[in-house]
């Protein structure tokens, strides 16, 4: 998959390919990464918030490491694990027919790793912050553990969960270091931050300004969305 979508209408609008191509790759990759991160991150956040098991703090710390590590370090590990000989590369070849380095799917994986801790931390905090007495009341109403989670805990934590997903999307969209190392700037697998880097590197300051402005607008929209989520009333 290259992340390419029909762009005839974008051309007609006068949006040049050097904007829409990296923008579509970025949005497409970030969207796919965010779906995975939202599902797995929220589930693990629930487990870490509610579970009492040995090694819980260690698991959370390990999964949060990409937050503290330079993205280039994450990228280097991905490059050597995904690209070097070994079981991970063998699995990539079995599943996709080729190694994932320098491909669109490689970008998605890099973005999953980079954005996962944001969703995990936000969801764990949101779920842990739900007043446990509501869950006790639900159990007294005869609701099973699953129904209590679905009907009580997750809806009451929804703002934090949504904010975590939005932050993860923003982080995936803005990733540069890990994506650059894993995917480089292969045509049709070039994200917005990498396109901006290329524009600066080759002295195309006008292009760089436009690409920066587009990313600024997208980041503004995400943060505005997050802040509005915080104000959404239950009713």
């Amino acid at each position: 998959m290259t992340g390419q979508v029909p762009h005839a209408w974008l051309n007609e609008l006068g949006i040049p390919p050097w904007v829409w191509s990296p923008l579509s790759v970025s949005l497409h990759a970030a969207f796919e990464a965010t779906i995975v991160v939202a599902l797995v991150g929220s589930a693990l956040g629930f487990l870490l918030a509610k579970g009492r098991f040995p090694g819980r703090d260690v698991i959370e710390t390990v999964l949060s490491l990409p937050m503290a590590l330079p993205p280039t370090v994450v990228g280097w590990y991905l490059l050597t694990r995904m690209g070097g000989p070994g079981p991970i590369r063998d699995a990539e070849v079995r599943l996709f027919g080729h190694p994932l380095n320098f491909t669109f799917n490689g970008i998605v994986i890099a973005q999953i790793i980079e954005s996962f801790p944001y969703c995990l931390r936000f969801s764990r905090t949101a779920i842990a912050g739900v007043d446990p007495r509501f869950e006790q009341a639900a159990r007294a109403m005869g609701l099973s553990g699953w129904r209590t989670a679905l009907i009580v805990t997750l809806p009451l934590a929804r703002r934090g969960l949504a904010a975590g997903v939005a932050m993860a999307f923003g982080r995936a969209l803005g990733d540069f270091g890990a994506t650059m190392i894993v995917a480089g700037s292969v045509p049709m697998a070039t994200t917005m931050p990498i396109a901006l880097y290329n524009a600066v590197f080759y002295g195309s300051h006008e292009q760089a300004m436009v690409l920066a402005l587009v990313q600024l607008a997208v980041a503004f929209a995400i943060l505005l969305g997050v802040s509005r989520l915080g104000k959404v009333r239950a009713w």
Partner: protein, 239 residues
């Protein structure tokens, strides 16, 4: 006759030691005593929200906790209804949904909501069935909480200081309602309060608590009323 509730439990929390034995028959039993006497802790043990260190609890003849045999029936399987001090209605659901979620004896959303609506009518809350709990007054919320506590066909209802957060006029009004609805439903109830007047007005039996012990039990003498209390079906006659 099988008692509605029979328990003999001990539980240590920090320096506080609860050590009580109770037997509750039909009607309304009131656990009365000062704050920190262990009344609410007893309710939490009955509900299965906390495990005792030792002892047994049987609801309607079914052993739900037996520490010696390591028997612990989960809260959701105990067939209890609970009414909390501040209602604890789910804020993201309507009053009707809150009650309908507690209905266990009917299958299908429509049947559950119909039953829930009938309970809201019995507590005089049908007028705000579709409103969110956040828009209700304290008294209205407790009416809905009472309907929710009874809607699941419980073997026992537990009420943990349900009136303590309300002003005195609403308390008086709801006392009459709570007693009327619970007595007419025929579901045995255990209510916790530290208010002597409330204990007298609501209880058939008053069980006095102090320092984690039962210090006395008294049956409340009641005169027969000529009018049934609010919530009582007319066919049941005077209570």
């Amino acid at each position: 006759m099988t008692p509605a509730l029979e328990l003999a439990v001990a539980r240590q929390i920090g320096e506080f030691q609860l050590d009580v034995a109770l037997r509750v028959e039909s009607g309304m039993s009131v656990l009365f005593g000062p704050s920190g006497a262990g009344k609410s802790l007893t309710l939490a043990l009955i509900a299965g929200l906390i495990r005792p260190d030792a002892g047994t609890i049987a609801i309607n003849g079914q052993v739900v906790t037996d520490c010696a045999r390591r028997t612990y029936v989960t809260t959701q399987e105990r067939r209890i209804g609970m009414v909390f001090q501040d209602g604890l209605l789910l804020p993201h659901r309507s009053a009707l949904d809150n009650v309908a979620l507690a209905v266990r004896q009917a299958s299908g959303r429509r049947a559950r909501r119909a039953l829930a609506r009938s309970w809201l009518e019995r507590v005089g809350a049908e007028g705000f069935a579709d409103r969110p709990p956040g828009s209700l007054s304290g008294g209205q919320r407790q009416r809905v909480a009472l309907a929710r506590g009874l809607a699941g066909d419980p073997a026992l209802v537990l009420l943990d200081e349900p009136l303590s957060a309300l002003d005195s006029a609403v308390r008086r009004e709801l006392r009459t309602l709570i007693r009327g609805v619970i007595i007419s439903s025929g579901v045995p109830a255990v209510l916790v309060t530290h208010d002597a007047e409330e204990a007298e007005e609501l209880g058939d039996v008053i069980i006095a608590y102090n320092h984690g012990r039962v210090t006395g039990t008294r049956i409340v003498e009641r005169t027969v009323c000529s009018e049934p209390p609010p919530g009582a079906p007319q066919s049941n006659g005077p209570v």
